[in-house]
């Protein structure tokens, strides 16, 4: 099947205001055969070459020949297959393929975050700044060697004093009198691949402007800090980089003076998408592992998975993952649809500009991927009993590795700030039809009418629930905007409630749209419809509780009326979740794995 590009949805939260989507939402089922084959190749590599060596990778073992670290050898093997150069241009030995293909491979290369972080720091954040912002000479000099991992790269933004506040670092570079080189001084912190990288993209002040340099780490004056002893991703390298009077040739300035923000933020958008897809893939892996365990583990004479409580957890894990998966593909589909509208001969930078417009959606993918995985692992650990606590069963490692997913590529707090900030901006700037939608909601509330109607037969009741969610959250957004007014930067708790509610809607609607599009005749239609119901139930619970708490804070008078209104907008929450969960569990037990 060739990719069916959906009609564009306004970026920055446009989904809040559109009718419940019955078409035009991208999902994994619409990816092309080529793309799936590449993802299969990535998965085969993971299963054959990475997962069997997990222990050795975590222990920083050498390769068989003893002449290199096993991790470096695996990185080079992956790059030799092309897994590190999927979106690089063909003229620089890349594959020139779409971001969607790259993300499918990120998803496939899951379950070993040490390797994914190493590859991502090299081929993603360490290489893409040069691919996107480098000049032709820089690209020709670096990209082919990066594509093959002949040289290894890293990305040095964070400093000891500047983590989340990344663009105000103290590192400084001064141009020499003859203009031939910069003299770089400063310190970077927590740099993935820091111990073994050959070059680094280093963010630094130059003439008071925050900029980026490509730095050869074998130059005099570069010192690598001690390796951090970490809770997770132990097979990866994380250390500081110290620069003392390091001479960097003037031609290694990346982009223009003052381009740091442009480079750093744009790379982050891609990084957030990749992390979201990888964590979503890992959630599926964890479900399958847990199913394996609970099917063979017997207590009281029965496999543990036969106990009702465990079936409930299994169903929840599956529903969260189904919604997260749907949201990830929905986001990249909407982004691709906008890129498809660009005129012929457009540049990568035009594509990046689109990504920036979808900053809200990229933040959702990052948060929902990393936190869905956290929730799934919470269940997975406990469903393994004492074995989950032991290294042998992998879940322990996955849980340790997952923590950093919520910290890097912008902490999830920072991503929630991005999410709510973008929504507020879209609403104020009128780039999404916020006013118009509100008017219709208010007139319905005034008339005491409920004009919600499904536009299709299949999953009609679920469509109504999606509409309820959208209207309630549009109402909530307005109340919050009015309530906090110009304190929009300081009222973080309330804005986080809004972020969580909006995100819950995005996920549930994505699951709904994906399932509707596959139709009632799909051979997994039954279980998928149930997963949609559970996703909706989860989203409603999340959104209701956030809404009540937020309203209780922002409404100085008339709270009771607003609570009544929002309850009406949310509609009837009742759902036979126990029975649904049992059906869902039955499906996955029969399948023996997460097979959707």
């Amino acid at each position: 099947m060739t990719a069916v590009l959906p009609p564009p949805v306004a970026p920055g939260g446009g989904f809040l205001l559109t009718p419940a989507a019955r078409s035009g939402v991208f999902s994994r089922e619409q990816t092309s055969e080529d793309q799936l084959e590449m993802a299969d190749a990535a998965r085969a590599f993971l299963e054959g070459e990475i997962l069997p060596h997990m222990e050795a990778l975590e222990a920083w073992a050498k390769n068989e020949a003893g002449d290199s670290l096993l991790m470096i050898e695996k990185l080079r093997e992956a790059c030799d297959l092309g897994l590190g150069s999927i979106e690089l241009p063909e003229e620089y030995d890349g594959l020139g393929l779409s971001l969607t293909t790259s993300l499918l491979c990120s998803e496939a290369l899951c379950a070993c975050a040490s390797f994914a972080a190493t590859l991502g720091a090299h081929a993603g954040i360490g290489t893409l700044p040069i691919a996107y912002f480098g000049n032709d000479e820089q690209k020709a000099r670096y990209l082919p060697k990066l594509a093959s991992a002949e040289i290894i790269s890293c990305y040095a933004l964070t400093e000891p004093g500047n983590g989340s506040d990344a663009l105000h670092g103290k590192t400084n570079a001064v141009l020499s009198d003859d203009g031939s080189h910069y003299v770089l001084n400063g310190q970077k912190q927590f740099i993935t691949n820091g111990s073994w990288a050959d070059i680094s993209v280093v963010f630094t002040n130059i003439e008071g402007k925050y900029s980026a340099l490509i730095v050869d780490l074998h130059t005099d004056g570069v010192t690598r800090g001690a390796e951090e002893k970490k809770m997770g991703i132990r097979g990866s390298s994380t250390c500081g980089l110290i620069f003392q009077d390091v001479k960097v040739p003037a031609e290694d300035l990346l982009g223009q003076l003052g381009d740091a923000a442009k480079i750093a933020l744009n790379i982050l958008y891609v990084g957030r998408l990749k992390l979201g897809f990888a964590t979503m893939g890992t959630a599926k892996y964890a479900i399958t592992k847990t199913l394996d365990f609970c099917t063979s583990r017997k207590q009281f004479g029965r496999p543990v998975i036969e106990f009702d409580a465990q079936q409930g957890k299994l169903a929840e894990m599956a529903a969260w993952t189904y919604a997260c998966d749907s949201a990830c593909y929905r986001a990249i589909g909407d982004i691709d649809a906008q890129i498809a509208l660009l005129p012929e001969g457009h540049t990568t930078l035009d594509e990046i500009a689109i990504l920036r417009q979808f900053g809200l959606e990229c933040a959702i993918v990052k948060i929902c991927g990393s936190e869905t995985l956290s929730r799934v692992l919470y269940h997975a650990l406990r469903m393994h009993g004492g074995y989950g606590f032991c290294e042998e069963y992998q879940i322990e490692r996955l849980a340790r590795d997952n923590v950093v997913d919520t910290i890097y590529e912008g902490t999830n707090d920072i991503n929630r700030i991005v999410l709510s900030g973008a929504l507020v901006e879209s609403a104020y700037m009128g780039t999404i039809p916020f006013r118009e939608t509100l008017e219709s909601i208010h007139s319905d509330l005034r008339d005491g009418e409920d004009t919600l109607a499904a536009t299709g037969d299949y999953l009609a009741a679920e469509e109504i629930r999606v509409l309820h969610l959208k209207r309630a959250l549009t109402y909530l957004t307005e109340r919050i905007l009015i309530g906090i007014g110009k304190d929009v930067r300081t009222e973080q708790q309330v804005l986080f409630m809004l972020s969580d509610a909006i995100m819950a809607l995005y996920l549930a609607e994505a699951a709904f749209a994906r399932t509707v599009q596959l139709g009632a005749d799909h051979d997994q239609a039954g279980v998928r419809a149930d997963l949609v119901r559970l996703a909706l139930h989860d989203a409603e619970a999340q959104a209701r509780s956030s809404s009540r708490d937020a309203l209780a804070h922002v409404e100085t008078s008339g709270l009771a009326e607003h609570l009544t209104n929002i309850d009406r907008l949310f509609g009837d929450p009742t759902m036979p979740v126990v029975a649904i969960k049992r059906r869902v569990a039955e499906h996955f037990i029969a399948a023996g794995r997460y097979d959707i």
Binding site: A41, G48, D80, G82, L95, A591, G592
Partner: protein, 257 residues
Amino acid sequence: MRVFVCVKPVPDTAARIKVGGDGKTIDPSGVKFILGPYDARTVAKALELKGEDGEVVVVSAGMGGKGESAANKRIKDALALGADRGIFIADEAPENRDPLAVAKALATAIQNEGGHDLVLCGRQAMDDQALAVGPMLATLLDLPCVTDAVSLEVSDGKAVVQRAAEGRVETIEVTLPALITGQRDLADERYPKLKDILKAKKKSVATFDFAWPAPAYEVVSLAPPPDPVAGKIVGEGPDAVPELLKLLQDEAKALTF
């Protein structure tokens, strides 16, 4: 060197096999077909051996759950690993094809190509495990046959093959052309390069028409293997050893002296 490699689509080893509604075939829904692990290694070996001007031709008959498409895709898998071209033998009724019929189809297609230095097969297909097609094909092509190869080197028109026999490794020299069936150890596992996956789409896959004979045998029924018998604890410490030996010999028949 011109090397022919015969491959067959088999269900993914991790797939849960269910018997279909007809009680005679497996239910293909949700089952992923792959290039079998033995076949993947013979393809890898062929690519190592073919040399500068050589050619690796992949041949597959339309067997397997999804018939033509599954076999065709496995040819594509081999092409993505680096094989040069493919020959696909369409089979309208693959369910009741006995190994000899398949071997005849492969032999006819290979003979039609007018020359071969080496023909490689996996030692067995992971699904039906008949271990028959390779030796039968050798007979039909009138080639010397070495089965279960774990290593294979070629020079001066000869192949030196190591084969894993019971309790020993035999080293055999055989004159080419020859047919060799491979074990997993025959070559290191290869993974397709993403570039080659795209290139594979452009490589030629010819369709070969074979006049299939009327099926000579019929699968009467298909059933899952019986549940494994529960284990038995015969005692503790050295005292238990005689009893254990006795049971292993007489009851489990796992030991013979």
